[in-house]
């Protein structure tokens, strides 16, 4: 295994520092929302988590396409890494959303388009992870994963539209009209700073984790190759 690159070490430290600052901003800088109170603060990391989740799934679909085109192993490793990380982040987004929904909507869960789509997306990628575990032949596993990552990603907008055709109560934070009626709110400057800083922090966090996970993937690949050569 190659030594840990310097840039990665720097990125690790940067992520840690940013995380501290973001947490500080959320707790001490962003004002308490007038109606919802403290629970609104979950919003900053909730959206950041969901954002990282969607970025990862998008990356995996693109990388899956490149894998099918080029057939090089590194693209498969990257795609798997992105989905594994995003799967966890997306789960955190769903759970933190639930924590917010309990006081704001008076229920943990409601069958609203975004919540339902989120649940289905999580299930799609759970199926992806199961599929990977079910195939022994590495070459076949890589092809199947790439195909399923693309299929899954294409179905997300269709799922969202199909559920959206029914009504929604999820607040539309950017560009919503009657957001306040749904537990939405308009952000004042310090809130916006905290919000976009959280997004940035989590994006950096994602890149850092992805890098680590790809290095781990390369190692896994080496172990697997060794195992095949022994058999």
């Amino acid at each position: 295994m190659a030594e840990k690159p310097h840039l990665l070490k720097i990125l690790d430290i940067l992520t840690l520092v940013l995380m501290f600052i973001a947490t500080g901003l959320v707790f001490f800088y962003a004002p308490v929302e007038k109606i919802m109170g403290l629970v609104q603060k979950v919003f900053y990391f909730h959206v950041a988590n969901a954002w990282v989740g969607m970025v990862g799934f998008t990356v995996a679909a693109i990388v899956g396409g490149i894998y099918l085109w080029k057939g090089e192993k590194k693209w498969d490793i990257a795609g798997f890494a992105a989905i594994e990380i995003s799967f966890v982040f997306f789960l955190i987004a769903i759970v933190s959303g639930s924590i917010w929904a309990r006081p704001a909507w008076n229920t943990w869960w409601t069958w609203d388009p975004r919540l339902t789509t989120a649940a289905i997306v999580e299930l799609i990628y759970a199926a992806y992870l199961l599929l990977r575990r079910g195939v022994d032949d590495p070459d076949r596993r890589e092809r199947f994963s790439a195909v399923y990552a693309i299929f899954g990603f294409i179905s997300i907008p269709l799922t969202f539209v199909s559920i959206r055709l029914m009504r929604t109560i999820h607040p539309v934070v950017v560009g919503g009209s009657d957001a306040a009626a749904q537990g939405g709110f308009s952000m004042i400057a310090p809130m916006k700073v905290t919000f976009f800083f959280s997004l940035f922090t989590f994006s950096v966090f994602f890149v850092d984790l992805l890098w680590h996970r790809i290095r781990l993937g390369v190692l896994e690949n080496k172990v697997e190759e060794l195992r095949w050569s022994v058999d």
């Binding site: 195939v135 399923y148 539209v161 199909s162």
Partner: protein, 227 residues
Amino acid sequence: MQRIKAYLRAMGAIVWKDLAAELRSRELLTSMLVFALLVILIFNFALELDIKARDSVTAGILWVTFAFAGTLGLNRSMASEKDRGCLDGLLLAPVDRSAIYFGKAIGNLIFMFIVEIIVLPVYSVLYNTNLFQPGLILVILLGSIGYVAVGTLLATMAVQVRTRDIMLPILLFPLAIPVLIAAVKASNGFLQAIPLAEILPWLNLLIVYDIVFIATAFMVFDYVVEE
């Protein structure tokens, strides 16, 4: 022109092979049908289908039945190719791989249609409702096409996986959600005689789903059967 003819002939040959095999063994259709009727029976007890409840849930019951029976058929149809080494034989044939996909998909679609054609009158008789409405037939047509288009590709993957008996529904259902939602909503619309303008978005969604996934499956099928 010559190439298109050859392509269609290859497709037709696969469909014909599936139909001929089914005509002799009848194992796929009978199991799909019995299973579909059992699902309807179970719903009867699970939901207490009295006359009031019936109107609002008929569309849902029909589509759950079709989806479950469809999964059974898709899995069986691909598994029999895999078990007896037929898939390798098919792949050796000097035809475009996508012709194999379309041939299998059309075969599966025909089986699904046969099950649906039998389930509809049975349901109509059992629950005293008339399900033979042109609108509903159209929805069933569009919905089944989308379901089978995705299902055939995923079944081809699923039969090559170690845990193949349980893999297909896990892979297929989350991807089939848009088609199921749209199909249930549109079917319900036609059964409740809702104005066409309100059903139209669902029909559009079904058409978009069909086109998008047939096109994607056409492009990636090669990678799923490659050895």
